[in-house]
């Protein structure tokens, strides 16, 4: 600032040494960490405990969807551009792996070398896709993603030389016994899912993530402040697409077959979007939670009701219910209620509207760095907390 008045700065500096304060009680942090460790342990020993093939298949698919939903949210949730065409990446990843395996005569475990290849192919597809689709308003964007999806499905059906058309492609044969097969795929999917969550979390708190969220709120205003919207959006799109492609390839290796309608399945997009919405659009763990709830439920339903149409109806009804009653998703709603409850217990009046939970500000309010305690300054942190030594005239602004 051009030589500014110093009293405010002095205040800020004076309180800079204030220790970090959480909204919850100090033990809360430890408890959260403990829970996470516990969950991780459970998730790691899961396949060793449950070897039933049906269960492990559901587990694998769930993890794939965790990855897909988190990856989807990484773009659509953070940027606000709802994509209903991510199946393009999923299918492209699957097909890329299948075509490469067939044409390059890849067999056995060498097939896993194709996973990064699939990711790269999907990411490369995302580039022109994004360049076309991201120039338009959000309404139009959705439609373009749908249109591109149908183009890809069409290509899968018709470019029979490449994709084998309706016959589909098969994955290379793996000489693994069923139990090891399921376990190994489970762990691979687990690594993928956790990795995706980690990437999502990293992005959320980063400069890049902030730019994305600013774009979501007011793209023009962000642009006028110097945020370069197109590169930012495109990058998120490419990352999201690449990861989804990887998931698609892994899925293909597990299922052993990809068909145009299974690789490019319109329900995929709806499912992934539903998972993100259910859990909390734009949060880190929301889509993961959504996937953990919906995928097993969906699989269970298809086995119970041999009639898959009924499960389709239920899926749609569930989605409708989520949109109508839980518009912010589970995590933000629970976090808001949770911090409200905490407030009552502690008798605090002025708690910043950011719920703090284990994933670094994961509620729908997206307070990645908004917690004033993190900023290490006085003015915000001592609002209403009563244990500050800063002068009472903290804010110069009258409440207006």
């Amino acid at each position: 600032m051009t030589g500014q008045a110093s009293p405010p700065a002095g205040q800020a500096a004076a309180a800079g040494a204030r220790h970090r304060k959480s909204v919850g009680w100090p033990a809360g942090r430890a408890a959260q960490a403990g829970l996470i460790v516990l969950a991780l342990v459970a998730v790691v020993i899961f396949p060793l405990a449950f070897t039933n093939q049906q269960v492990s298949t559901i587990a694998f698919l769930t993890l794939i969807f965790v990855c897909a939903a988190v990856a989807w949210n990484l773009f659509s949730g953070y940027s606000g551009y709802i994509s209903l065409g991510h199946a393009v990446f999923f299918g492209s990843g699957a097909y890329a792996a299948g075509i490469a395996a067939r044409d390059w005569h890849i067999t056995g475990t060498a097939e896993f070398a194709l996973l990064p290849f699939a990711a790269v192919v999907a990411a490369l597809i995302a580039v022109p896709f994004g360049l076309v689709a991201l120039r338009v308003r959000r309404h139009t964007f959705v439609v373009i993603t749908i249109a591109i999806f149908f183009i890809f499905q069409l290509m899968a059906f018709n470019l029979t030389g490449l994709t084998n058309g309706t016959i589909g492609l098969n994955a290379p044969f793996l000489l693994w016994d069923p139990v090891s097969f399921d376990q190994r795929f489970y762990y691979m999917a687990l690594v993928l899912a956790l990795g995706t969550v980690a990437i999502s979390w990293l992005i959320k708190g980063s400069r890049f993530g902030l730019q994305l969220r600013a774009i979501r709120d007011d793209e023009d205003r962000a642009a006028s402040l110097g945020v370069r919207a197109m590169p930012v959006k495109l990058t998120a799109f490419v990352i999201s697409g690449g990861i989804t492609g990887l998931a698609g390839a892994l899925w293909f290796f597990f299922i052993n077959q990809v068909l145009p309608q299974s690789g490019f399945d319109p329900l995929f997009d709806l499912t992934v979007a539903l998972m993100a919405f259910l859990g909390g659009l734009g949060t880190v763990t929301g889509p993961m939670l959504g996937a953990l709830i919906i995928e097993p439920a969906q699989q269970y339903l298809t086995t119970q009701f041999s009639n898959s149409y009924l499960s389709q109806i239920l899926l749609g009804a569930l989605f409708l219910a989520v949109v109508l009653f839980l518009p912010r998703g589970l995590i933000p709603t629970v976090a808001a209620k949770g911090s409200g409850w905490l407030e009552q217990r502690r008798g605090r009046q002025d708690v910043p509207a950011t719920g703090e939970d284990g994933d670094g500000g994961a509620d729908g309010t997206d307070a990645g760095i908004g917690s004033p305690a993190e900023a290490g300054t006085s003015a915000a942190a001592d609002a209403g907390s009563g244990d500050t030594s800063a002068p009472a005239a903290t804010s110069k602004g009258p409440a207006s």
């Binding site: 008045a5 902030l210 730019q211 962000a222 602004g397 207006s400």
Partner: protein, 258 residues
């Protein structure tokens, strides 16, 4: 003395409406210049043209010796012109502090330094600066709140804050006092004076006459898209053309208007 910011002969029409017509305004460096005029006289349109939200049909915009006509908003911002909006545009789902950081990330230092995109948003320096500015405008207490929960007046202050983050040479304020309570308006006045004393230039569109007359060194009056009068407040206050612009000429008035 060449003006820091000037427009020459700006014309802009929307369909059949000529919003700006041969509009020429000069803003001297380190001045607080007011832009007044009745509703529909083209004030916000002029701002939009200057800051790149609209392209003029004719005319030029000069800033610090450069022709910036037709620059996109981010280029205008990077050149050192900050601007607030009548209907405040902030990021409602980001916290106040995050709003500031978004602006701070792109302090127009002109250089294209590569900043690691994966770095944690808002380093210590950025945050300190952000909080300083929030303290300055008086809304630091709300730093952790979602910007969407702020009142209208607070949002205006937030907008002002993050426009200041980039330390622009000139700040364009579009109705900063509109809809804001009087004590806050005074505070705003004071802040502007302080910043101006330190060298910042201001161009302010405002309807609040007291605010304008008390604050501005120089005032330009717009009517039907063109400047009908310009000068210090004392001149403008008594200029019949200004009265005409606002109130219209009386029907049986003998004297020709302007």
């Amino acid at each position: 003395m060449t003006a820091l910011l000037s427009t020459a002969g700006i014309a802009k029409a929307f369909g059949g409406v000529q919003a700006l017509d041969d509009c020429s305004v000069e803003v001297q460096e380190a001045s607080i210049t007011g832009l007044i005029g009745p509703n529909g006289s083209g004030k916000t349109t002029l701002f939009n043209v200057i800051t790149g939200y609209e392209r003029p049909d004719a005319g030029q915009v000069q800033f610090a010796g450069r022709d910036i006509t037709g620059y996109a908003p981010q280029r205008v911002f990077a050149a050192g012109i900050g601007r607030t909006f009548q209907l405040t545009r902030i990021f409602p789902r980001l916290t106040v502090l995050e709003n500031m950081i978004v602006a701070a990330q792109h302090t127009g230092d002109g250089s294209r330094r590569f900043r690691n995109p994966l770095a944690r948003a808002g380093g210590a320096a950025d945050r300190r600066r952000a909080m300083e500015l929030l303290d300055f405008t008086g809304i630091a207490a709300h730093a952790g709140k979602l910007a969407g929960t702020l009142s209208y007046g607070q949002r205006k202050l937030l907008e002002l804050s993050y426009v200041l983050v980039a330390d622009p040479a000139i700040v364009l304020l579009d109705e900063p006092a509109g809809g804001v309570n009087p004590s806050l308006v005074n505070q705003l006045s004071q802040r502007i004076r302080e910043l101006n004393a330190a060298g910042k230039t201001f161009l302010i569109v405002e309807h609040n006459m007291e605010f304008v007359m008390g604050l501005c060194h120089h005032i330009a009056v717009l009517d039907y898209g063109t400047v009908v009068a310009a000068g210090p407040p004392s001149d403008i206050r008594d200029d019949p053309r200004v009265l005409d612009a606002y109130l219209g000429t009386a029907e049986d008035d003998d004297e020709p208007a302007a």
